[in-house]
Amino acid sequence: MAVPVVFFAVFFAYPVTAIVGRGLRTGGVWQFGRVGDVLSRPDILDVLWFTTWQALASTALTLVVALPGAYVFARFDFPGRQLLRAVVTVPFVLPTVVVGTAFLALLGRGGLLDELWGVRLDTTVWAILLAHVFFNYAVVVRTVGGLWSQLDPRQEEAARVLGASRLAAWWRVTLPALGPAVAAAALMVFLFTFTSFGVVQILGGPAYSTLEVEIYRQTAQLLDLPTAAVLTLVQFAAVGAILALHAWTVRRREAALRLVDPALTARRPKGPGQWTLLLCVLGVVLVLILLPLGVLVERSFDGPGGYGFTFYRALTSVGTSGTFLVPPLDAVRNSLEYAVVATAIALLVGGLAAAALTRRAGRLVRGFDALLMLPLGVSAVTVGFGFLITLDKPPLDLRASWILVPLAQALVGVPFVVRTMLPVLRAVDGRLREAAAVLGASPLRAWREVDLPLVRRALLVAAGFAFAVSLGEFGATVFIARPDRPTLPVAVARLLGRPGELNYGQAMALSTVLMVVCAVSLLVLERIRTDRSGEF
């Protein structure tokens, strides 16, 4: 308990409080009167309104598109299922810079839609919504599908035997069992879209601004700290409310359901209806997920003088431009190194937190659980600026240290670790430990002999997630990454920021490399998925 608490106090609570305090304190007194002033400004109200409704719309759209997918991935067994499951998760960890570029290529001028039907969606709300669905498809498929694959189909069959119609059986038996999982997934999607930054900035054009984008503008561009602080508090309140709801649904989900091995529930699709459903879902995955990714790959090979490896070759040299002090391909190594350290930190902190949450119950602990999720919903710019003004004195003078990058990434990784570990740890029967203790094992030995074998796979899955999140993390990293050690997303952003065909092509090639690295680590995850990693 102590380690995660200290970690969050030093690297999250303290920096965030400091930066909010800069904006809201004058002469040591908190000026909460400013909250009202800021919230009565029409432009701020516009931002709040847009943030809320686009998040609601994105969530609804994601559920509509992804729920059939959750069913298909949970209940059908078809060739390539594992590969596809990994592929649909790739977007979730891709940096928004890359996604924004891909979607512009798809929906913008001369994009695919433009060529086929003369439709252009860039700088419209539709582009934002579609990109949000692209990002969050996996959240629904994993959260809902994870549970769906373990529901005992015999319960529904029993209802059918007792005379219920197919629809009624689903409505009365399956849906209530799935309800909390759907709610939890919806809340997660709502949280991610409510705090959306990169997507809105790139695809929305200047006319649309979410709370997160506005916080960034007020802090980094206008240096209007009071306004930024008020907006940060508003976002805090909103995210807190969402997380509280989420925690409540998760607790409901851990209620007793009869779960079975997913291997028993997946079957080959039968009959025209099921085949149609499967093909429809595959079609959606193809258009929504593979197409944007494919555009990137296509452009990375489309070199001067036809298709080839020109851009990939260019990645291995420093070039004449001085954009990089090292060849861009070195970014792969940097990213991997940072990700390993970030994963270690996230596992240590998240694992200890999950253990503490399993052992104890009570309101305080539940509050701590929600607290651990907060970094998911607090803007990177707030945390980054907070780092700048707090971590500047020994013993915590970390501003120039490389460790800051993995620390910031671990902050985002911890919630995933906790989410993955918690259900498994809670499923470990305490009496086993007690039996070991009675037989004379020390607490450490009991943990090693009893818990570890049971949670090893969950640990691996958690590690994989933390790793993938760290690879794609952009917001906080761009704040602190040093020019001689850029990470993959930072290098992509830098290449996109320079004119000329070679730079553009290299950015596409590097994005493709990032995609492959993410996909491979996720595929490895698929191989070792636990039976009960239903929470995410």
Binding site: V6, T323, A400
Partner: protein, 367 residues
């Protein structure tokens, strides 16, 4: 509780262990700037800058050879963001010298008292019209660049239409729906272009000018990257993305860059510059107040206006030197364009009106 405290202690020890190990791992040669334990003269000088800073490694090595100081570069976001970070951390700066405050942000930096005055060696060789703080020398001019409309040569040749040359041309009906520019709130070329129109049409006339520009179908995107690499039809990226705007707000140095990064290298630049639509940007550097290594910082400022660095700059940052004696590289003279009479606005006037202009522009053009 003692147990818990011991765990925390262990974790801290472990964390410190990790960082020490890492510090010893050769890949991370420089020590952190906070790490010199006072008394010993630091051999590292830290330059804080925006993302666009670049210098040839050989040139930085030459500086080390001359002075014994190793330069560590810290890039911290775009120009506005990098400056705001320094204002936030005033008194406990991240480095010794800050490079990249331009004339549109200069007053904000000076009003916040960021810099320690220092008269760099060789300042007399710097063009006088760039020395905006000549009385106090809190900042030293380093480079200039012009923000101008670029045009896609092929488009205008195919259409047999003369490309626009001035602000007044841009609102003519034959150039309807051709121009893409950047959001002035989030992009420095965007802001530069707005300031150019303010200087051109006057305090009262610029809003009218923008109304006409809007009626003439100007498109606004958030960043230079999007405008240049996605919407503009003349750049390599834009060609791939089928950009449909043959006019874009960019820099006078963009055509040479377009040539430099094309393989094989073309005989003529694919894009041209409308030289009557330019706004002059001047970038400055200054010694940060509270710098840990003041002597090193001063040496670095001297170096930034030395011939060696000035000559190296154009091809790394695509800007023009401020030292008159330094010649432009052939690529610039061959493919670039010089604005005959770039527009300017005084820094204090910018400081007094910037927010208001941005807000007015936003409600006028994008909302």
């Amino acid at each position: 509780m003692t147990h818990a405290r011991r765990t925390a202690g262990l974790a801290l020890v472990a964390a410190l262990g990790v960082s020490t190990l890492a510090a010893c791992g050769g890949s991370d040669g420089t020590e952190s700037s906070g790490g010199d334990g006072g008394g010993t003269k630091s051999k590292t000088v830290t330059l804080v800058s925006h993302d666009s800073f670049n210098a040839s490694p050989a040139v930085l090595k030459a500086f080390t050879k001359e002075t014994g100081y190793t330069v560590k570069v810290l890039k911290s976001g775009d120009a506005g963001e990098a400056l705001n970070k320094e204002i936030l951390t005033k008194g406990s700066p991240q480095g010794d010298v800050f490079f990249g405050v331009d004339n549109t942000l200069l007053s904000r930096a000076l009003d916040n008292g960021l810099f320690t005055p220092y008269q760099a060696k060789g300042l007399d060789r710097v063009a006088a019209d760039t020395r905006l703080d000549a009385a106090k020398n809190r900042v030293t001019p380093i480079d200039t660049g012009d923000i101008c409309v670029n045009y896609d040569k092929k488009y205008f040749a195919d259409k047999k239409l003369a490309p626009p040359q001035s602000f007044d041309d841009l609102i003519k009906p034959e150039y309807k729906n051709l121009l893409v520019t950047e959001n002035v709130a989030t992009s420095s070329p965007g802001l530069g272009f707005l300031l150019g129109t303010v200087a051109h049409s006057g305090d009262s006339g610029w809003q009218d000018y923008w109304k006409k520009l809007k009626a003439n179908g100007v498109q606004v995107v958030d960043s230079w990257e999007q405008a240049y690499n996605e919407s503009f039809s003349g750049s390599a990226g834009g060609k791939k993305a089928n950009g449909d705007r043959p006019l874009v707000v960019s820099y006078a140095s963009s055509p040479p860059v377009e040539v430099l990064y094309s393989e094989p290298r073309p005989k003529v630049a694919p894009t041209g510059v409308a030289t009557g639509t330019c706004f002059r940007q001047i970038e400055f550097a200054g010694l940060l107040g509270g710098a840990k290594n003041e002597a090193g910082g001063k040496a670095l400022l001297d170096f930034l206006i030395s011939d060696r660095f000035q000559a190296d700059m154009p091809l790394n940052m695509f800007v023009n030197p401020v030292v008159k004696a330094v010649p432009l590289p052939p690529l610039f003279t061959e493919f670039g364009a010089t604005a005959d009479r770039p527009e300017t606005v005084a820094p204090d006037k910018i400081a007094a009106n910037r927010e208001q202009w941005i807000q007015t522009w936003t409600s006028l053009v994008v909302k």
